[in-house]
Each structure stands twice: as structure tokens, then as C-alpha cells.
Symmetry: D2
Subunit: 331 residues, 4 copies
């Protein structure tokens, strides 16, 4: 199986290395807006740096991995689908819900496989929690609390094109909500503030948010996010069920405990997503190719990407218009 990867940046490198590790899979092309970056990454994996036309036009390419900037996702999905390639695409599908839906249509019409990189579903701790929940260990889920905080805000230049905190950062949390509870949202309430850097407010965005989703079955979900948690990447969630509670905690680099006359202390959580989700990135890529090879459905479809975006859209409106949003029947 031959693969072309789009994007040779931070996340592209991770995906390239994980592609290269799959048995029976060969990385054939690397495409990037920077020819130097493409060439360097191609060199590391014995691949060729090229342009998208070549990569998509080569009939020996079975699958593409889209890890380029968000504004290129939709176009590459549509073209890859038209070329009959299996697609792995980083989240989000697009910042526009309309365009995202068109992508989903294109994928559907072409009948190709398309998996969205909701990496958190593959984190060993989160996946173990989900398995315990599904096995009934805590009965029926009633309440889900998601804590999702980055160690620090990205540059304001990035924030300006990010689509806002709800589409950029909470898109993951909206997917987690759908995945964990297996339920759809009925109402969404979002509020937030700019507390860490006034430049974020000037860019029209916020850095701290609280979202409440009430599902059709009456279950409750709260998401709290911040662009800045100085103690590291804080990724936790807990589910209260009718027969107990499950918590998924952070991971520490080491298990050293230090006792001094003042305090007992341990490591802070893993620094950021590359550290925390290292295993998750490897597992999601293995599952993508495993699904392709064995003909199974992928675990995170483009519909999951569209639905997370619908929630992000609703949250953005709730925050901007200061009202409770009722989600449509299609959500």
C-alpha cells in the first residue's frame, strides 16, 4: 500500500513516522508548501517530495494523509475522494460547516474511506475508560465533565485564522462528548472570557470557556477549557454513572515522589499534545491502515467531523449571541 502525505510540519512529521512503521505500508510522496520541508521529510523516509497533482494522479497511491493547514483540508479531501484515495485527515474538516458537509458528500459519493484524526479517542487512558463505561461498570452515564486546557496560547497570528476557540480547540472535546456519551446534543450553552492576554480579545476571540450540553436523553455534559494552564497540558474527564464514576487522569513523565519538610510533590502532567498523545497518534494510524487492509469501517468518520463542527458552531453562536442554542434534528 502506497501513501502520500500532505503537510511536512510538526504533525505531518509524526504521521509520516507512524505511516512508515505500518507493516505493508510505504510512504511514497511528501507534499508541502515548502519544497525544502517536503524534501527533508521525504529524505528521512525514503519518499519523494512532489506536488499534489502528482501524488493524487499516481494510481499506485492507495491512501493520503492530510496534515497540512486547516484551510487546505476541504480541497484536498474533495480531490482525494475524486481520485479514489482512502483519506486520513487531521481535524477539523473545515472551519465552515457548509464546506465540511460538502466534503462529507464528496466522500460519500466517491465511496472512499475517510477517517478524521480525533486522536484522543485512541489515548490508552481514554480508551480504557470508554471500554469500562461500555461494559456497564458504572451503569448508565448521567454526567460528563471534560477538562481540556493547553499549557499556553498560540501566537495571536494563529488565533486570528483559527476559527475561534470553539472550532479550533473544543472541536476535540465536542468529539469526545459524542464518543463517550454516545448521545446527541439538544441544547448548547457557551460562555467565556479573555483572561490570559488582551491581544486575544482584540483578535475577537476568548481564551477561557465553559460549555454546557444537554443531550436528547437528558444527560449533562460540561466542558471547561483554557488556553493557559501553567502546570502543563491538562486533559481529563470524568463520567458520573448510575452505579459509580470513572475518571481519566493526566499522565506524568515519571513516577517519582519527593518529600521535603514543606510538601510532597510529583511531576507536572506531560507538557503538551505531542508528549501526551504520542501513543494515540501511533494507534490511530495503525487503526486507519488496519481498517483499510481488513475492510473494516474506520473508527472516526467524516460524519464525526461534521457533527463536532455542528457543536462548535452552536457553541460559537451561543457565546456570541449570549443565548441558549437548540440543536436541529439533524445533529
Amino acid at each position: 500500500m502506497n501513501v502520500a502525505i500532505f503537510g511536512a510540519g510538526r504533525i505531518g512529521k509524526i504521521h509520516a513516522a507512524n505511516v512508515a512503521r505500518q507493516p505493508g505500508v510505504s510512504l511514497k510522496y511528501v507534499v508541502d508548501v515548502s519544497p525544502e520541508a517536503a524534501a527533508e521529510l521525504a529524505r528521512q523516509h525514503g519518499a519523494l517530495a512532489t506536488v499534489s497533482e502528482t501524488a493524487l494522479g499516481d494510481p499506485s497511491v492507495d491512501a493520503v494523509v492530510i496534515a497540512s493547514s486547516t484551510d487546505t483540508h476541504a480541497d484536498l479531501i474533495v480531490r482525494s475522494a475524486a481520485a479514489g484515495k482512502a483519506i486520513f485527515c487531521e481535524k477539523p474538516v473545515d472551519l465552515s460547516l457548509e464546506r465540511a458537509r460538502k466534503c462529507a458528500d464528496a466522500v460519500s459519493q466517491a465511496g472512499v474511506t475517510c477517517m478524521i484524526g480525533f486522536n484522543r479517542r485512541f489515548d490508552p487512558t481514554f480508551a480504557a475508560l470508554k471500554a469500562r463505561l461500555d461494559s456497564g461498570e458504572i451503569g448508565e452515564p448521567e454526567m460528563l465533565i471534560i477538562t481540556s486546557r493547553d499549557p499556553g496560547a498560540p501566537p495571536v497570528s494563529y488565533i486570528k485564522v483559527s476559527g475561534g476557540i470553539f472550532k479550533d480547540m473544543l472541536i476535540h472535546d465536542f468529539d469526545m462528548f459524542r464518543w463517550v456519551l454516545g448521545d446527541d446534543g439538544q441544547t448548547v450553552h457557551a460562555t467565556g472570557s479573555c483572561l490570559t492576554d488582551p491581544a486575544i480579545a482584540e483578535a475577537g476571540d476568548i481564551d477561557s470557556s465553559v460549555v454546557t450540553i444537554r443531550t436528547r436523553r437528558g444527560r449533562l455534559c460540561k466542558i471547561n477549557t483554557s488556553r493557559r494552564a501553567v502546570y502543563g497540558y491538562d486533559q481529563r474527564f470524568e463520567v458520573l454513572g448510575s452505579k459509580g464514576m470513572l475518571q481519566a487522569g493526566n499522565v506524568r513523565p515519571t513516577e517519582v515522589v519527593t518529600y521535603t519538610s514543606k510538601a510532597v510533590y510529583t511531576d507536572v502532567p506531560e507538557a503538551f499534545f505531542l508528549e501526551r498523545y504520542r501513543a494515540a497518534y501511533a494507534i490511530e494510524m495503525a487503526q486507519f491502515f488496519g481498517a483499510l487492509i481488513e475492510g473494516r469501517p474506520v473508527p472516526t468518520s467524516i460524519d464525526d467531523g461534521v457533527k463536532a463542527l455542528e457543536l462548535a458552531d452552536a457553541a460559537t453562536r451561543s457565546w456570541a449571541e449570549q443565548k441558549i442554542i437548540t440543536l436541529g434534528a439533524s445533529q
Copy 2:
């Protein structure tokens, strides 16, 4: 200093024992709707069982402890204030915000001391967190997450007269919010469901709720509550600050850890409020009498009681009317 206590039930007994432990303080009267209960509690502490007229009419009585049912609080506060007694009253002041405000006026006009039993402020873990926050250990607070879950729902007969989950159960959490953040709410959003017992819904109430408060300074507070956490009384909160995070966890009966071939396990949290807040009840009573004896202001005034009720009222309306409530300037 002589004291009369109103209410000889579960909480009355705790307060009576703590009153009896204060140096220089003597429990003189016990009043209860059940003469037997009053007599029994009076006997244990060498006090007299009597009626409210006698207790309030005795000029040697300096202070009263009101631990009777909620619907008697307002009347007893007003009459005790008129009689010039210092007052310790269990939360809530009243279920009606209007009546609560009248009580506050009566206290103010009489110039008597009145402390509301917001026991959680005196919990050693919560108080230590507050002290660390105030000392600047985590910089400015930005987000407060309160988890407040009872081990099981009270009888539906109680729920029917409780004033609803927001006034009955979250009244504590609204006070915690004000105390921890030292800020006032600007908007309140509340939603909830009845997930544990349909009889609660039939009684017009819910058992699971999520409340979001945005403060005037833009800080965010989320409160999640349930009437049923089968693993015990779950009372935690965490504060995200500009320089770190503080968490206040549950307390376990013992520090035993058991390792088996299947799992590593510890005790569940303390069973309910009598166990978890044993120390807090003792400390609040010591602070009440300490304030009286030394002429200091009490740490939880009747205004705190009124303000918590204002939030409970707003949350109730937000839930019932499904809208975001903007709090008045007076809040």
C-alpha cells in the same frame, strides 16, 4: 454565656454537642416540636427542654442556635433579633428571597450578630485551599469548578418541601462560589435533568444539575451536582489560576491501599455530611462564639445567606424558563 437551641434533630444534636464544648458557654434550653426529642437532648447536656417563648424571653440567654426545619428559620430569626439575641442559623435563611431579605433587615435593625451555617467554609481542606489562593500561590483565579454530589436522594416527601435542588442543595455551592472567588455573579445559566428517580420529576424537581456563573470580572464558575453518587459524598472543587491550580479533594476514612490481581483500590470517600464535615461543624461553632466573645464579625453573615439565595433563585428561573439570567446590580 447561655445558649438556647431550636431543633433537636440530626443537625441540632451536632450543634448542641459543639455548643457544650465551648469554654465559657452553657447550653440552657432546648426547643423542639417534639417535646420528647427536646427532653432527651436537654438531658444529655444538662439543659432544660422548653418552648420558644421561654427561651427567647429569658434575659440570661445571650445566643440562639436555630437548627429547626427551614420553614421556621425566618420567624425565629426575626423574633430572636427582636429579643436581642445573637443568632446562629442553619442554611438557608428561608426559601423565599423576599422573606430572607426581611430577616436581614430585622437583624440589621436590631443590631444583633447573625451567622449562617455555611459549614463548608470551615472544612480544613477547603479552608486551606482558600488560604493558599489568598496568599497568591496560583496568581489570579480564573475558573472554579465545584463538584457537589450527595450519596443518595432524600425522600420525595422532603423534596416536595425543599424549595427545589437549587435552593436546597446548591445553596452551599453558591456560597462556596462567592467565598472562593470573592466576586459577584453577572449571568447565570442552569440546566438539569431527573435521572435517578421519576418520582422526583413528578414532584416538579430535578436530581442532576449543571450551573454556569460568569462573574462581573469575567471569571467562570461551573457547578455540577447530583442527588446520587453511589460511591459516597463527593465534595470537591478546583480553581484554575494564572499561575497554577488548586484542588480540594475528598477525605477517605482510612489510608489503606489494597492490591489484588485485578486492581489497586482504596476507600470510597466519607459517607455523608455528618462524617465529612464533622470538623467543620465544630470549627464553625467555635468561630461563632469566638466572634461573640471577642467582638469580631462573624465569618458568614446573613447577607451571605441572602446572596446565596439570590443565586439559587436565578438558577431556578434559568432552569425553569430555559434562559440566561442576568443578575441585578444589587447582587
Copy 3:
């Protein structure tokens, strides 16, 4: 039931307060080498300060609590037994094994009840571990690791008359060993060093020790102690069993967790024995009087005191003579 207490120092005060709390028990006399200390403690509890002859000669006195200095224990036990009083005596019975055995004989001949204050057996965490072990949760015990460290060394003047670290400090751990494993030692090996203060070595003692006991059934016990753990009073043990492991951990003053950019930290353990074993002291006194009133045997007999001393004696010889000691059949 009337009680006389010997010793009005730190531990005497704790016992006096706990005696005063027992229903149906009255503290009648306080005896101390310092008449002022006796008078002060007597005043607090409405008792009389007196001398030992009066206390022991008063036929209305049913029980005595011996909390005076170690060198007075043997004489008071013998005299109290002769006077027919029930006895609660702080550990150790005596520093001399021979004299301790004579005390046990005197108690036995007089037919009086005598309980030794091995307070650790009554610590809620330790007692819960023991109950789980006895219930078979981890199968048969195989190995016991006891960690027992004080926050700081006592004055050298005390160390000189203490009988050495094994009789003064490890006496508790030897009792814990016997209680937890329910087995007798066959061989004892002890070694140690003076690492915290050269003055302790000059006084002929050590401050750090490691003891290994192999029981008759082949079970293994290791005890490690230090006079100095700057992070607080460190009192833990763990039992490896055929089907699992049990650990009994330290207790923290609060459950606050602080996250900063450097570390995640919690409280250090309780400062010293008065804090850590507060509940244990109350429970042991309740059990002493409960046993007297209900005619049950006391949980820690004078034979337990003698047997712990036998182990301390063997450890002292093992350390001093640098050899493995085989315990006699009588142990």
C-alpha cells in the same frame, strides 16, 4: 467507675481527656512528681491532685492509668496489682526484661486486668488493614515491611535514659509485627548507624536502624526506623500476601493538591504522634473501659508488652554483638 491517673505530662493529659469522655467513668485522682502539674490537670477535669498512696489506697478507685516516666512503670504496676486495680499502662512495661516479667507475674497473681498502651493497633488505618488481612483478602501473609520514622530526635539527655532505640522507639514496631503477622520471631538481625547527630553515638546509641525478623513459619519482617524524617512522622506498613498486598499509608492534614509550573504537591504527613494517633488514643481508652465494663479481655495484654521487649532485647544484642540472635522457645 473511678480512675486515678499517674503522670500529668504530655501523654498524661491526652489520656486524662479521653478518660473523662468515657460514659460512666470519672477521673478522681491525678498523681505527678510535680504537684503543680497534677493540680492543673486535676482542675481541668474536676479531679483531685494527690499522692500514689492515697490513690491506690482508695477502695473506690477501680482503675489506674499509668502515664508517668518509664522508670516508674514497674513499681506502679506491681503496687496497683496488689491493690486490685485494673491497669492501663503506657509502653514499655520496663526497660529490663526481667523486671517486665516480674510485673507480668504480679498482674497474673493478682488476677487484675492490665492493658499496655500499644496505641498503633487502634489507629483506624492500621486496624482496617489488619481486618482486611484477617478476612483473607490477600491470602496468607508472607512479608511485612514496617516504616517507622520520627520527625526529629529527642534531646540527648532523653536518649541516654531511653534504653536505646530498640527499646524506646522500635518497641511499638515489635508489637506491630506480632499483631499483624500473628506469629513469633525465630531469628532476629539488627544493624544500624548514627547518621543524624554525633551526640547520639557518644551517648552509645544509634538513630537509624534496620531489623529483620524471620518467624517460625518462615515469614519475613523488615523494620526500618530513623529518628529523623524532616517531612514529618512517617508511619507506614505493607503486607505482601499470597493473593495480594495491603499498604497502610500516612495521613495528611488536608486533601489540597497544588499545581504549579514546577510540580504538583500535597501536604506532608501529620507532624508527630499526637496528631497522627489522636483517634488511636481515644479508641484505646474506650476499649480499655469497654473491656472492664463488659468483662472482655483487653486487646493488648502485659504479655504483649513482655514479648515486644523480648524482641527489643534481641535486636539490641544483635546490633551490639553483630550477630544473628535465635529466639528462645518461650518467645
Copy 4:
């Protein structure tokens, strides 16, 4: 750099995969008593299956990895040294102290690099503890407690040729002792029992042991081991220092916490050494080749292997002869 590996079993496969990952390093030969096993492992890494004569006789081979059975180590070390190859050898050097010393002489005379696979030094948690200790965070070390327990005993057929628990299992712990404390043993006391399976006693060995080492500077070390901890691979240690304590704990597969009405539970530790020390195996191989390429000394020399064996020898004698062993000046 070309490499030959001896041994294609469980540990050989791990080392082969880690060798293959080193940049600039190529696995050229695989040697095993089973030609099929050698061929299969060679196939996976594009290497050749061959015999030792060929591998050692090929001048293009720069380094060898010895991961074959213990009884072949000495011969392969001597022959590899004579052939001028750099050597990475699994622990132990040999079961005979005399032969191990001869190997060290052979390595020394040939002037080749030889690293012994004491993998635990490279565990991220253990290495972080060591770094904190060396940085002075807890002052001077005074006491070291090593807990080292396997999940289950190997077959008795293996135990019979293992050299006994002290040389087979504690060899790692003796190296940890030397590494952590940076001190040499002066006296050794060892005792133990056969508690898990009578067949082990019939084979002349024990399955549970306790070792005490007192160092020349008077520091104390206790090691407790068992062949069976049903809850998983238990690998912990703690260091008490003059200014604090450091603990290195076990690693859990996931950070899920489950609350039920009975208990709060987490995962058991990683199952065995392949899981727990996965990172350590990768790091030690990177350090071996890093040292070779950059001309630095290896972190664990053959002298470390000899010294750990001296301690194992002393412990074996202490246990068998039931006496305290004083170590020679050479240790």
C-alpha cells in the same frame, strides 16, 4: 557500524529491534542455538543467521550484543574481546564470581568496551530519582529500601540452573544499591524462605528474601524480593535523606480511576519487565551505541557486573550459612 547479536529469544528480540533503530547502526548477524529462531529474527531485520565463528570472524562487525543463555556469556565475552569487538552483555556476567572476574580481565586486556545490561538504571522514573538525589534535593542519603517482586515464579527447571535467587533475581537490586547510594557494602545479611511453591525448596532455592547491606559509610540498605506478587511486577525504591525522601513508584498502564459503592480503584502495575522496562531497554541500547560513536565510557561496565555478583555471592553465603558476611576490601 555493524552488529552481531547472540540469542534470538525473548530478550534477544527486544535488543535486536532496539539495535535496528539506532541511526548509523546495522544488524548484520543473528546467532542462536536454534537455527530457526536465528533465521526468523534475522529475516525481520534484514540480517543474516549464522554461527558465532562467522560473526566474530567478520572484521566488519564492530559490536556484539550477547543475549543468549547465562552459561554462554563468559565464553562469548572472552571470545568477543579477543576479536576486538565492543560488547553489550545481558546480566549476569556469569554465575561464578571467579569466571566473571576472568571475563573482566579479558575485557581489560583487550581494551574493548563492555557494557552490562543493567536496564533498571535507564528506567525514566529511576533515572529521574537518581538525578534528584545527585542534585542534593534530599541532602545526604541515609537509607535505601528496594522492593523487587516478580509477578510469578519461573519454571522450576529454570530455577535449578539459575544460580539461586540472589544471583538470578537480586543481581539487579545489588546493582541498583551500588548505583543509587554510590557506596560499597561492608556487611551483608540475607535470609529468606520458600513460601510460594515447595518445588522451589526441593530445588534448593527460596522464593522470598530479605537482604540488609550496611555500607562503609554506615548507610543502610534493605532489599525485599519475592518471586510472586499477584498484582504485577512490583519495582519500587525509596531513599531517605538528611533533608527529605525520594520514592520511585510503579507505572500503571492507564490513568483510569473507577469509583463504585465499594471502593475506588486503579490499574495494577505493568505486568512484567518487558512492559515496565520497554523504555529502559531502548535507552540503554541508545546509550551503548552513543558511547561507542562518541568515544564516551559506557554507563554500566563489566566491573559493575562483577561487583553486583560479589554482593550476590555474599548474600548467598549469608543465607546458606546463616551468618553475617563482611565484605573484603576489594568489594
